[in-house]
């Protein structure tokens, strides 16, 4: 009787945890194409900033296949592997924008050009209809929590650095404002740079001027794991303990039945 009660509690704990929202560590994106995209859903809260993964995107070790998939930004982590690290020393100005010392330093970066072994992450407005908007969609960097500096830049034709975001020197970015505006119905690729290993929480706001609804926006926190991935939150440890207890009890019941 006591065992049955314990079994029920364990089952309930596991089931309850399963119904909670997914957390970034549950979906780790390690390679393939994805965009951080913007959709507008009138019936479902308006502006929606989300991950749009391609069919070749690898999540938790397997390609998604099919038509790819859409994930809430809080449900996935983009992984930046150790072999993306390079010692960079371009010139003091570029080094400063990257958040490196005046004489350069180590930079982990996801490239603007496709390398199938790495995440190929862009920004997109492809889900939107140009007829609904005045002007484009602006992506603004709000804040970054992490062990180092973060920057986002595109490549000039001869290899120049065109910074859109920089935690080190926002005033030196293309618009001087840590913001980049894309036209409706397009996408764009960038380089994503980090100056130290660890977890980065990058808060980005997307905003635009909708013809019917005026200024609309959405803010999300994008999680990057540089050489690491986030660990489960304490609440989720509870679920893990519940599952372990369940497994133990099942094993114990089988043993008792066999005896």
């Amino acid at each position: 009787m006591k065992r049955t009660t314990a079994l029920l509690i364990a089952l309930i704990a596991a089931a309850t945890a399963h119904h909670g929202g997914a957390a970034p560590y549950e979906n780790v994106y390690t390679s393939g194409h994805a965009d951080l995209g913007v959709a507008y859903e009138e019936e479902e809260g308006g502006m929606h900033f989300h991950y749009h993964f391609g069919s070749d995107a690898v999540i938790n070790g397997s390609p998604l296949g099919g038509d790819g998939g859409e994930y809430d930004i809080g449900d996935a982590t983009t992984y930046v592997a150790p072999d993306t690290k390079l010692f960079i020393n371009i010139n003091p100005s570029v080094n400063n924008m990257l958040g490196l010392g005046a004489s350069g330093g180590d930079l982990w970066y996801l490239p603007q050009t496709q390398n199938p072994a790495l995440p190929f992450l862009g920004l997109a407005t492809e889900d939107l209809d140009a007829g609904d908007w005045n002007g484009g969609i602006t992506f603004t960097l709000n804040s970054v929590t992490g062990p180092g500096q973060f920057s986002l830049w595109s490549n000039g034709t001869f290899g120049e650095f065109n910074f859109e975001f920089s935690t080190q020197n926002p005033g030196g970015t293309v618009g001087g404002d840590n913001a980049v505006t894309l036209p409706i119905g397009t996408h764009s690729h960038y380089n994503w740079g980090f100056t130290a290993a660890g977890i980065y929480e990058v808060s980005i706001t997307v905003s635009g001027n909708h013809k019917d609804f005026g200024l609309v926006s959405d803010t999300q926190t994008v999680t990057f794991g540089v050489e690491t991935t986030p660990v489960p939150e304490p609440a989720t440890y509870g679920a893990a303990v519940g599952l372990a207890l369940l497994g133990f009890l099942i094993a114990r019941r089988r043993k008792l039945a066999a005896a």
Partner: protein, 269 residues
């Protein structure tokens, strides 16, 4: 609408209907090399914008007006492949998405996943094994601002995010060989810089190839001609009928055995 486009639209009605019927894609994101595959039709190509698909034979991919695509070639010898002397004018389409510029790339996102085999091409520019589709430059034809055939260089390159030497994928300035190839993965998508040594009308012939998953069978597309306007719109682009003849001529020309042996072999995973 740009004045030049209006002019072109007006001019379009002044020439015979059979010769002028082409669409123009400009100033937007366009996957010029959108690679398709079906078991029935094999590998093929289309021109894919975010809203429309075109047959390559029916569309001019254009960037202009005059003066808007020009940049000065840096002096370093690593840029010699462009076919433009140091300090000379290069016409280019950017690798990055810039407002009011044509942003041309390649994609194979419509191919059902698991169609193509993973392999490591025998090519030092390709970083790792993947389900690669090869985009091979077969020929370049150039027509100057008066519509006359002429000589000009076409090139395709990428620059890394951190200021290293360019990776040159295609350059007609030193002749065209199997090395003049770019690669995109099944389900993938990629952008490059496009360089032209002169303003005018370019016809680029591409051929797509890969290895089918399971059988490792080598498959390739027909030669597909793309029409590019560099600060210039021709009065006409060849009709499909004329293209078919060009294609036939290309097949005859290429019917020597070396073109049919794969340059690279798939690696079993």
């Amino acid at each position: 609408m740009k004045p030049l486009l209006l002019l072109a639209a007006v001019a379009a009605f002044l020439v015979p209907a059979s010769a002028r019927a082409y669409s123009v894609v400009t100033d937007v994101h366009v996957d010029l090399g959108s690679i398709t595959y079906s078991a029935a039709n094999g590998l093929g190509g289309r021109v894919h914008t975010d809203t429309v698909n075109y047959k390559p034979s029916e569309v001019l991919i254009y960037d202009g007006p005059a003066g808007s695509t020009q940049i000065t070639r840096p002096s370093a010898s690593q840029w010699d492949f462009l076919g433009v002397p140091a300090g000379g004018t290069l016409y280019y389409w950017p690798q990055s998405n810039i407002a009011d510029r044509t942003y041309a790339g390649f994609e194979a996102q419509s191919i059902p996943s698991g169609t193509f085999a993973s392999y490591q091409p025998a090519d030092s520019r390709v970083p790792s094994a993947a389900q690669w589709l090869r985009i091979e430059l077969v020929d370049v034809r150039f027509f100057d601002l008066s519509g006359e055939p002429g000589e000009a260089s076409f090139s395709l390159w990428t620059v890394s995010g951190v200021g290293q030497a360019p990776t040159v994928w295609m350059a007609s300035s030193d002749g065209i060989s199997a090395e003049d190839s770019f690669f995109v993965t099944e389900g993938g998508h990629s952008h490059t810089n496009w360089g032209f040594s002169k303003a005018g009308y370019y016809q680029l012939d591409f051929r797509y190839s890969g290895y089918l998953q399971g059988s490792n069978t080598f498959v390739q597309s027909d030669v597909i001609t793309y029409h590019l306007g560099v600060e210039y719109m021709p009065a006409a682009i060849p009709e499909p009928g004329a293209l078919w003849l060009l294609g036939l001529a290309a097949v005859v020309l290429l019917s020597c055995p070396r073109f049919f042996s794969p340059k690279t072999q798939p690696v079993k995973q």
